[in-house]
Each structure stands twice: as C-alpha cells, then as structure tokens.
Symmetry: C2
C-alpha cells in the first residue's frame, strides 16, 4: 500500500493544478485517473481546439494547456496512476482514507480531492428486457478475455469501431457472429466497414441493420436468445450465448456516486470556502462539484484547487498557521527549482 498526503482523483487540468497548490504548501500527492493520459476533457474532447479563456494565455489548445500544467507540476514529482479507475474509497479511521482501483492499486492518504470532471467515461448501457440480469454474466460492455467466446453464438451491438473490431475478430473463433446496428450507416473506419461487407457477402457473419434489442431470453443471466426489433418489420429472435454491447462512452459519476457523498444530480455538493464535500477530508474541485453560483469554467476549478489546498493544509496541520505568500519569495519554489535566495 502506497502512502501519501493527498490522493487526487482525476488528471484533468484541475487535478494537475491541485498537485501544484498542494506542493506549494509542502504536501505530497498522487493522481489516479481512469483515462490512460493526463489532461481530462481537454485532451479527450478538444485536444486541438483553441481555448481563449485561461487567464494570461490569450490562446492555447487543450493539449498545450495539459503540457503547460505538467511542466508546472514537474518540481513536485507527483506519481500518477493512469488508466486505473477508482472503484472504492474507504475511511479506515477519522484521519485516513484508502483508495482502491480496478487494477489492484491501493493508496492511503490523509485527504482526498475529487477532480473528476464530468465523471468517468462509462459505457452507455443497453435498454431491453433482461439486460440487468445478464449484465456482467453473458452481456458485456467491454472484452477482457476474447478466448471465452470461443465456439459461442455471439451478437454484437453497435456501429462504431469497437463493435466492428470485435465482430471482425470474433468471427475467427466464435461459432457464429451477428452484428446488430440501429442504423445503416457506420461510424467505424471505412476499411472495417468494407471488411464487414465482405464477410457478410461470404456468409461468414450476419448483419441486421436499423434494429434494436427488445428482450433477452435467459435463465439466471445465462442467455439463450435475443429478440431484436427491425424498424418497420417483424421481431427477429437470434440464438445467443453472449451479447457484446458497444454504444459508446458517456460521462457518469460512476463509482463516486456510491461513496456516501451529498450528491446534486451528477455533481458533488461542496461549501464555498474549502470546497469540502459532506465528508470531512474529502474535497471536490472543478466541473464535478456544485455550489451556489458554480460555473463550469477551468479557471474556477483552479481557484477551487487553491482554496482546497489551504483547507487541506489546515486540516492536516491544524497547529500551523499558513500565510498566503507571493510565490516570488516562496522557499518551497526556490528549493524545488534550485533558485538561490
């Protein structure tokens, strides 16, 4: 188990700047993010688009903003666990938190900052009778071990790259593959679509377009068939051992919603002084928090990160008075940067 002062959940701009603000106050932090790269929405949603409203940076792209922040926090040697989703947040005692990820990492800290942006990107769920019973057993939103589908009857749902990639791959090992897509146009790469058409023409897989699942027939989650409704046509029942569903990713609070925090729709309520959640010692900054007057602007998240850092310092070292200091004369910056006083 790795110990640190503060675990920051989220490697977007606010999570990165949180490292800096904590570092300035002499606190160590580590970052965890489910996305395998730092930058959050900036890097995922608009890496190449110009951003104009970062103070004193007339224009930069999302990627440039991320690079600038990474450079700014370099003096603080922050360890990052990327591509790991935080699944559990525990509080073994009043002073400590444990954070566990889906990759088996466990971290211990004395405070937690949730800088989760719009939440983690979760697979969009299928809506049909029987889905809840089969999900995680014979209905899958991601593939971890393709070998388990050997010699099975597989129905793949979706029209994007993930759906086509898996349909084209599993056709080699499965007993039978059917691709079901709600439209007749594909978001997948043209080469994949061409290959799909070839295999379809060769009778190696079936494709059903303009169709949606209406029900899954199953016994205790072990599916036997899936009934799909073709637009303007009759229902079709497909024998099936497994369904793979690739409807894209959507931002969700995800596991954060289960941590007992005071939640306001998809955001976490915090106060306006410390940006602390309803659980003392757990803070939330950036797009994921909510307070009266909240605006989802990157620069507001930076402000919140600064104030949360002061509050955390106060919590962890209550006897030490912390003064706001010009960084120009900050001993910590001078030490970190090797500046001679």
């Amino acid at each position: 188990m790795i110990s640190t002062d503060v675990v920051i959940i989220g490697a977007g701009p606010c999570g990165l700047f949180q490292v800096f603000e904590l570092g300035l106050l002499g606190l160590k932090s580590v970052i965890v993010d489910s996305i395998p790269r730092p930058g959050g929405q900036c890097s995922e949603l608009y890496p190449d688009k110009p951003i104009y409203d970062i103070p004193a940076i007339p224009v930069c792209t999302g990627d440039e903003l991320t690079q600038r922040l990474l450079q700014q926090i370099k003096p603080f040697d922050c360890r990052m666990y990327l591509g790991e989703e935080v699944t559990e947040l525990g509080q073994p005692d009043a002073e400590h938190f444990t954070v566990a990820t889906n990759k088996g990492t466990t971290l211990q800290s004395r405070a937690v900052v949730i800088a989760g942006g719009v939440g983690s990107f979760q697979p969009r769920p299928m809506r049909a009778e029987g889905v809840d019973d089969c999900a995680g057993k014979t209905l899958h939103y991601r593939v971890q071990d393709p070998g388990r589908f050997k010699d099975s009857k597989i129905v793949v749902f979706g029209g994007g790259d993930s759906a086509l990639d898996w349909a084209l791959e599993l056709v080699n090992i499965a007993k039978h593959v059917t691709l079901v897509h709600r439209r007749d146009e594909y978001r997948a790469m043209p080469a994949s679509v061409s290959r799909l058409r070839e295999l379809q023409a060769a009778g190696r897989l079936d494709v059903i377009e303009r169709a949606k699942a209406s029900s899954i027939e199953h016994t205790d989650g072990q599916m036997s068939s899936i009934t799909v409704q073709v637009k303007g046509g009759e229902p079709v029942t497909l024998p099936a051992d497994h369904a793979l569903v690739f409807f894209g990713l959507a931002p969700k609070l995800g596991p954060i919603a289960e941590w007992g925090l005071d939640i306001n729709r998809k955001t976490i309520n915090v106060d306006t002084e410390k940006f602390e959640t309803s659980t003392p010692g757990i803070y939330a900054v950036g797009d994921i928090n909510h307070y009266p007057g909240k605006k989802k602007l990157i620069l507001c998240g930076f402000h919140e990160a600064a104030l949360a850092a002061f509050a955390i310092k106060q919590r962890l070292e209550p006897d030490r008075k912390v003064h706001v200091q010009y960084t120009t004369t900050s001993p910590i910056m001078h030490e970190r940067l090797g500046v001679e006083d």
Copy 2:
C-alpha cells in the same frame, strides 16, 4: 460624458481580466486607474520577480503577466483612463452609475467593478498637532502649482526624491526653504543629495536632520510656524507659511471608503456567488474584496472576475439566459479574432 456598460476601477491583473470576461459576454467596459501604467501591484511592486502560481504558466514576471493580459483583452478595444484617481462614485438612478476622476473625466455605466487591489497609493500622513487643521490649506502632500510658494517660507519634510526635488526647486523662488528629515541618510538620488549639501554649505537653505515635527502653530489653518523636535536635543521653532510633506506612499482604500459600501477593515465585503458589494450593481474582485475563505491570490481574483461578469450580464440583460460556453466555440471570440467558423 462617456457611456459604457461597465466601469472597472483598477488596471491590475484582475481589472484587465475583467475586461476579457465581460467582453466574452458581449459587454463593453472602460478601466480607470490612479497609476499611469496598467498592471497594478504586479507592475509596481514586483515587475521583474518570478511568479510561479498562475495556472498553466510555470513562471513569469509581473510585467510579463501584465503584457499577456493586455494581449488577451486586445480584441475588446477597452479604453483606459490611467493616472486618474476615481474620486466620486454616484448613482443618479437605480440603473446607472457615474464615476468621476480627479482629472475631470466623468463616465456613466450600468455596473461598476472595483478591482482596486490594495487600494490606491496615498501619501503617508504627517502626525503632529495642528496637521489636520492645516492639511489642504498650508500643509501639502503633493504640489500642483509651485508658483503659489513664491516668496513664502517653506518647510519640506522627508528624505526621498520628492522631498529633495521640491526643496532644490523651491529654493529658487521661495523666501526661505528648510528641509527636515528624520534621519541623516537619504533615500534620494546621490546627485540630489550632493546638490543639497552644496546649497546648505552656501547658506541657501537649512537642513535639520534626525528631527520630527511636533506641532504646527496656526490660525484657522494658516500656519505661522512649525516646531520640530531634534533627537536628543531641544525643540526648534521654524517660521513657516507652508509645509510640504513627502513621507512616501502607502496603499489605502482612499475615496472608495466614502462610497457607502459595507467595508471590512481595508477591504469590501462581497457575496461568494456574484462578488457583489452591499450596493447592487457594484462588484468587487481581487485583493480588495472580502468573503469567508478569501485568499489574496491572483488566480482567485480571476475566478471572481469571471463570476462577476456573469452576474453583471444577468443584471443588465435579465431576460437573456446566459450559458457557460467553451470559448473554443464562442461566436464572440471568433468574431473578435476573425476566426472562420
């Protein structure tokens, strides 16, 4: 009288960024500052020192920060009245404000943002019996018309450049000049000190060192003499028509303190949602405001400026719903910057 949407008092970083945030929402603004250059404390107090805590700018000097902000607000053609101190803030009706400066400029607006930093830099006052009665009549903290001192008996107080410059200049027209300094070392330029010594040796002016004024003898503010106390010596009484006092400048709220706003020591109380003062339509951002949890950090002022801008937009155009928007897709930025959509 010049009309605009918003008058911003203060050309420091927060005042400059306020122009940007208002501009993004389609509101016009003008800036007034008593200092003849933009940049506020950044330019006045630490123009060349490195600042490390501006988000996504790993290091920059105060001057660089100012230049970057000036570049960022360039698309919004903000007019600046620099070197003009705001002396009066009036509210002719519930919807309008008038701002008047000591240079005779009058501005009308529908909202006012006070981004006054630590306040305006005001002359440090002299403390001695009779000062209050003579101030503004025969005791002066600045010289506007040197001609009025012709053939008068003048006592100049101070040891910096202003004190020596005026003593050396007035010696040519006054009946008699005495310089009184509390130390025997001078902060003025060495050339001025040499010249002072020459004139003193030639008997053209008197210099009294290690001395302070203890009282001013006067009739209804018309002084007749000033008594000074030399350290470890006897009091000396100097015949005097006028006293000029140059004890340096200190930040003060200045005229802002007279505008009927809810004041907390040297700061202005605001709410944490709109950063509005006790007078609706008047906002305060940056170091000059106070609210629970306030930290005097530049980046917090940027956040406040953004939220104040939204609040002002709401006040001025209550029927129009304002959405937070990525600037990446902002029609206003595209229009201002000539970006093709």
